[in-house]
Amino acid sequence: MSAGDIPITTSPAVAPTDLVQPTRWIEGSPSLHRITTDIAQPMEARPGRGWWICFGIASAALLNLLGMVTYLFAKGIGIWGLNNAVGWAFDITNFVFWIGIGHAGTLISAILLLFRQKWRTSINRSAEAMTIFAVMCAGLFPLIHMGRPWDCFFIFPYFPNQRGPLWVNFRSPLVWDVFAISTYFTISLVFWFMGMIPDLATLRDRAVGGIKKFIFRILSMGWNGSQRTWSRYEIVSLVLAALATPLVLSVHSIVSTDFATSLVPGWHTTIFPPYFVAGAIYSGFGMVLTLLLITRVTMNLQRYITFNHLEAMAKVILLTGSLVGYAYATEFFNAWYSGNVHERFHFINRATGPYAWCFYLMVLCNVLTPQVFWWKRARRSIPVLFVASILINVGMWFERFVIIVVGLHRNFLPSAWGMFYPTVFDIGILIGVFGLFFTLFLLFIRALPMIAMWEIKGVSHD
């Protein structure tokens, strides 16, 4: 393997001999220095016009979010379309959606590390960043959906307090959410930051001076790259990965218990924890795909995020999408088999009621779309991957919407049946949170290394 520039080839078919040889995950064999410069390049060069346009749009959406949330706090939850029948709609749909998206990052970082999947190295940093930002976006919703957000601290079990003292209701899934999401955010942040330390040190060394060097010196925490440091570091990474792994399963299981522990037909089912976890991984990988398909081209990182990586992600999507489809079928079967009139009605209403179009969209996007990835050509086709990744997230958003709104709007007493219609504020905040997410992500790719340099270096010469 000689150093030097090697032109990037189009996606080669994977040779049967790869069963014996490990896959080459990085195109060509770039030198270590080349890796550093390639990855550091977005941080050191001025952003191009494309970045500015995207940032402008995202910031506009973020400003819209700020404005609408301010108005929401001023006027009350009544500016949304919620009512006595449907107490949650876009707010909790968005919450679950964003938490779900975050799961891909943790899975890639932690579980794939424990399974020694080397292909994770190109995507784990940005996936982790995506998780952090997704959890931040998600965390916004429990705050703003409260009727009295200024009293939000009631939900934290702070002790001692002068209200009794009063604890929180540990039987409530919303309190479990508090623990799960704060844990998730904390661990993800620590894991992400820890993983960046060697790269921050590299950037410190590359920085010529001034504020940049100062910041990177602080952040890299005195990294000296010695053998001892590295060996301790690898142990810490494994420990953190072990800590983070259960979160992939637990966090979304707990979020699903927001619904599963209630008695609402369509919510009250034990299938939710595994179903939601599968769905979360599914939507998370969809979002990772969307982001990486764009950034690998715009940041010239095709060498590091290759078709092999994309194909691996597509396989995960196929698996989890099929699980989700299986879960849908199970739900319908259970509803019929149970003979419970309310459960049966709920599913008939899903498919034939006023929100039936949401249901069919959801099935199209979640059940049919991933099946295209049985074909290798589809797995390695950028347009198919991109369109599929968008549809996946549309479908997963609608899945949560269907579960929440269709479950609430018609259940036990027909006299209380109602409808939910989103208002401009529901939709504006939905779009605005995407603005928050993309603003953060766009800033991230310019400020921090979006691929783990040190990990790439570890796999580039296999």
Partner: protein
């Protein structure tokens, strides 16, 4: 609670007013009195003293500046925090029900029924419950107005007296056009007026008139009276277009009477209702027939013939051939009804609300034939609640036009709005030199008169009432007048040159006229005090002289048959309906009544054209399509509403909407249907031929319920008559669900409630009572459309079947106080818990508004404050106005935005009763506590009590075979149980 006599306070205030003794003047709250404040109005202080109570106590950030003023002169009567109860008489309609009104800190805040009244026995209606709010209505006049300018009483009296006295030799009439006056003392004052003005005439005006009934009784029995109907003495009741459980004549009394005979055993009364539009009464009948208004007369004739065949030897010659043909649509039903009636002679009652003399005469004959006169139809001690004379009103308009009236005083009437010839009346008003309105606001009629001399609200007023001959009740003020108003009686006396204050006049009348007839009453002072305290007095009066039936019923039959033979001029008929919320329109500016969901359509804030499903389908009309109704005399555009049970050819429209000078809440709400019918032969009609056409436009209705089918779920359970006596299997045998939870700690009581679905008529008095008691906000039509209505108590309506024989169910639904409450486990902050006494509590100041509890409530009884509904200009109803907030109950927190609320079984009442029992060193007794809904109910359908006490009424009811819980299979273990509705298809 203390039940006080004629309060010292009112006496003292009266004395103070009379003598002008000085009292301390302190600043005024915004929105009340204007200039000319008299230091003697000390009670203004008491109303100011609790502006604080009107503050949203939990309402977030900044508290607005309030004027809290302590009372300088302590009153022995008024203890802050302790309510006083005073008996008075309702003035919301002319039924004049006895009331006991709760007063806190010098102002009335809650209306309750008077248990001592032999007529109502403590029941109330929705309009009566809501009338406490109209006391605090911003639209009320603040003082007299002359030619559009506010003036003082001296000045307006000068103007009026000048004009009245100038015509001393003038033959032109001085006319008082008033609603039915049931007050004997007021009627006596009219005599004084007559003395002063010999050309004085009193014309009585009722928008929904019973003039034909009175005329029929005059022809039949020699006295133009409205009988006192006794539904409690009837084993078979037939109602022909008479909503006697909802709005007809005396619905509170009739509901109580009717429910007394609707027992669950074999002696149960059988109720048949024949009507064109679905009414509250029709929805509770055992057998309901849909008949068009024009078919009512022939139906009555056919029924008379069928009954006559059974009870009279010759089948009443003159009826031959007058019956319906055997294959006529209702022939089988008529036979069945006639069988029932004939089997229970002497215990049968037929009533009709028709304003056609012939039909009323036929029905009078029917009652006579069935031996009801003197039993179920009491003519000798008649009802005095409707004395309107349509012919006189029509005459009056003509006389006004001719210039034969020199002065017109309008009192409690609004003909410009609700008379069919309202336009003619308006024009005629201009021809009368002196026109005066005693209305409390600038209403439609008041806009065209010279002088506005606003009367007090009935809660500020003295007075009396005799709703049924021999049954008297008194009215005493609960608060000194808020504004510069004057009692109508006093105004008349001033103008008659004999100024006397109302109280003195009332007392004198009672002392002179009534006390002598009160047997065994003792000296007057004691009698007066006791009467004021009790509120109602029975003083037998001489019977009205009536004779046995002698009317020309054959002529009436001929009349009807001839008319019936004419083909209808149009395909459809319009029928006017009076609904429990809107009544005749006088309460249009009362937001509680506008937001009250109609028990039949479940709509709020507006009226609709109710069309039968088959007719609507044939015309391609769906609910919400705006249609034009055109009669010979008028036109109206209204949204259509597809109403199962509606008669095929009839379109029913509620009256009382479409006002334009009621006030902010009532103006422009709905459409005014009064001008579409006419006065025929001197009688107001309630129906007319009409054409129906689509406009192509749609209107957005504000429904509180959109889905009326039970979807096969047994939410309202029924039981056949007599089934509970059998030892046969239940239809719904439930296995006892195992309990996975540890039993909670129990306190001394387990509060629970039983709701008798058979006794509930759907009248919705409980809904308004709950709103009044618990400071439930009004949200307005737009929020109702978004399904955000705030009522803690709702009356769900379910329909079984479609078409004309639809069965209707009313089910009051509020927090079921589940002992395994699904809402409690999911609240993250413990804002909802169950007390040791079984009440599911909502802790407002802990609630952060995640709304998980509302999502998890299977009954959907939780209500969220989506916006700040108080002190918020976006919701300009009573909780935003400083005056309107005076109606708030200080014992109940006013909730801020973002907080969940729901029924708490009137825990404030429970606490009060507990405290009283403590003070009296005794345990609590069953019946110490009556929740607001229980107290308001005229049929006693709601029973609240202690389930831990096996002897309490509620325990016994819920241990019976009729008891069940809604959604019992969910394992929520509610403390609220329902008693199955009884279905009876036959009478035994």
């Amino acid at each position: 609670m203390n039940r006080r006599p004629a309060c010292e306070e009112a006496e003292t205030a009266a004395t103070a007013i009379a003598t002008g003794s000085p009292l301390v003047q302190i600043g005024l709250p915004t929105g009340t009195r204007s200039t000319g404040f008299e230091a003697s109005r000390r009670d203004v202080l008491s109303l100011m003293g609790f502006s604080l109570g009107a503050l949203g106590l939990g309402s977030g950030c900044r508290a607005p500046v309030q004027h809290a003023v302590p009372l300088p002169a302590a009153s022995t009567e008024m203890v802050p925090g302790v309510p006083n109860l005073y008996a008075t008489t309702c003035g919301a309609c002319s039924a004049s029900c006895g009331l006991v009104v709760k007063q806190r800190d010098g102002r009335p805040i809650k209306i309750e029924g008077n248990d001592a009244s032999p007529l109502t026995r403590g029941g109330t209606c929705a309009a009566g419950q809501a009338s406490v709010l109209s006391l605090y209505d911003d639209a009320r006049l603040r003082g007299p107005v002359w030619l559009g300018n506010p003036v003082s009483w001296e000045e307006i009296d000068r103007h009026i007296k000048t004009m009245l006295n100038a015509g001393s030799g003038d033959p032109r009439a001085v006319v008082l056009l008033s609603q039915t006056i049931t007050s004997p003392s007021a009627l006596a004052v009219l005599n004084d007026f007559r003395v002063a003005f010999p050309s004085f005439r009193h014309v009585v005006y009722d928008p929904m008139s019973l003039a034909a009934l009175r005329e029929a009784n005059r022809l039949a029995h020699g006295a133009a009276v409205v009988p006192h109907f006794r539904f409690d003495r009837a084993r078979v009741v037939v109602g022909l277009e008479a909503d006697f459980l909802g709005t007809w004549l005396a619905p509170v009394e009739f509901a109580r009477q009717w429910s007394r005979r609707r027992t669950a055993d074999g002696e149960r009364a059988f109720h048949v209702q024949c009507e064109s539009g679905m009414s509250v009464t029709g929805s509770n009948a055992d057998l309901r027939l849909a008949i068009a208004p024009s078919e009512l007369g022939p139906f009555a004739v056919a029924l008379l013939a069928a009954v006559a065949r059974r009870v009279s030897d010759d089948g009443l010659a003159g009826l031959r051939g007058a019956g319906l043909a055997p294959d006529a649509p209702h022939a089988a039903a008529i036979d069945r009804i006639a069988d029932a009636l004939a089997r229970h002679r002497g215990e049968a009652l037929v009533v009709t609300g028709s304003n056609d003399v012939a039909t009323q005469l036929v029905v009078a004959k029917l009652n006579a034939l069935l031996g009801g006169v003197g039993k179920t139809v009491d003519l000798e001690q008649p009802s005095l609640q409707r004395q309107g004379d349509d012919a006189q009103v029509a005459d009056l308009i003509q006389q006004m036009n001719r210039g034969a009236v020199r002065a017109l005083i309008v009192w409690g009437a609004n003909p410009v709005y609700d008379h069919p010839d309202g336009v003619a009346f308006t024009a005629a008003l201009k021809k009368v030199p002196l026109t005066i309105s005693l209305a409390d606001r600038r209403d439609e009629t008041g806009a065209h008169v010279r002088a506005l001399c606003p009367d007090h609200h009935f809660l500020e007023s003295w007075g009396d009432a005799e709703p049924v001959r021999g049954q008297f009740s008194l009215r005493q003020p609960l608060i000194a007048p808020l504004h510069d108003t004057r009692s109508g009686v006093e105004s008349l006396l001033v103008w008659a040159g004999r100024p006397t204050d109302h109280r003195t006049r009332l007392r004198d009348f009672w002392q002179r006229e009534l006390h002598p007839r009160a047997l065994g009453a003792g000296p007057f002072e004691g009698f007066w005090e006791r009467s004021l305290e009790r509120g109602v007095v029975e003083m037998p009066q001489p019977a009205v002289a009536v004779h046995a039936f002698a009317g020309d019923w054959q002529g009436a039959v001929r009349d009807i048959v001839t008319r019936g033979g004419r083909p209808p001029t149009e395909a459809y008929e319009l029928a006017l309906q009076e609904t429990v919320g809107a009544r005749d329109g006088r309460h249009a500016n009362n937001p509680w009544l506008q937001e009250l969901p109609d028990p039949i359509t479940r709509l709020t804030w507006g009226n609709v054209a109710c069309i039968a499903p088959a007719t609507a389908a044939a015309q391609g009309i769906t609910t919400g399509d705006v249609v034009t109704l055109t009669t010979e005399v008028g036109k109206l555009e209204l949204p259509a509403f597809v109403q199962p049970g509606q008669e095929r050819r009839t379109i029913s429209v509620a009256i009382g909407y479409g006002r334009w000078a009621a006030g902010k809440a009532g103006d422009g709400v709905g459409g005014n249907v009064f001008p579409l019918v006419r006065v025929e032969n001197g009688l107001r009609r309630a129906s007319a031929p009409v054409t129906l056409s689509k406009t192509g436009r749609r209107a957005r209705l504000a429904p509180a319920q959109t889905h009326f089918s039970m979807e096969g779920r047994d939410i309202v359970q029924t039981m056949a008559l007599g089934q509970d006596k059998h030892e046969a299997e239940h239809e719904h045998e439930h296995e006892a669900l195992p309990n996975l939870w540890r039993e909670r700690l129990h306190g001394a009581h387990a509060w629970g409630m039983s709701i008798d679905l058979d006794a509930c008529t759907g009248c919705s008095a409980c809904v308004v009572a709950c709103q009044a008691e618990n400071n439930v906000p009004v949200v307005g039509a737009e929020q109702v459309r978004k399904s955000r209505i705030m009522h803690w108590m709702r009356i769900d309506r379910y329909l079984e079947g479609d078409g004309e024989d639809v069965i209707s169910h009313h089910q009051p639904m509020m927090c079921q106080h589940c002992q395994h409450a699904p809402c409690e486990t999911v609240c993250p902050v413990l804002a909802t818990t169950t007390s040791s006494e079984g009440i599911n509590q909502q802790v407002y100041n802990r609630c952060i508004g995640t709304r998980y509890c509302a999502n998890n409530c299977p009954y959907k009884v939780r209500r969220f404050n989506w916006h700040n509904f108080t002190a918020n200009d976006d919701f300009p109803f009573n909780m935003t106005s400083p005056l309107g907030r005076l109606v708030l109950n200080p014992d109940v927190t006013v909730r801020s935005r973002g907080v969940m609320e729901k029924c708490n079984l009137c825990v404030q009442r429970i606490q009060l009763a507990k405290n009283q029992a403590l003070l009296q060193r005794r345990p609590m007794a069953d019946g110490d506590v009556a929740t607001a809904c229980q107290q308001a109910c005229p049929t006693g359908a709601i029973v609240f009590g202690d389930l831990a006490d096996a002897q309490s009424r509620v325990s016994k009811l819920l241990a019976g075979r009729r008891a069940y819980r809604v959604l019992e299979d969910l394992g929520t273990r509610p403390n609220v149980g329902y008693l199955k509705k009884i279905t009876s298809k036959e009478t035994t």
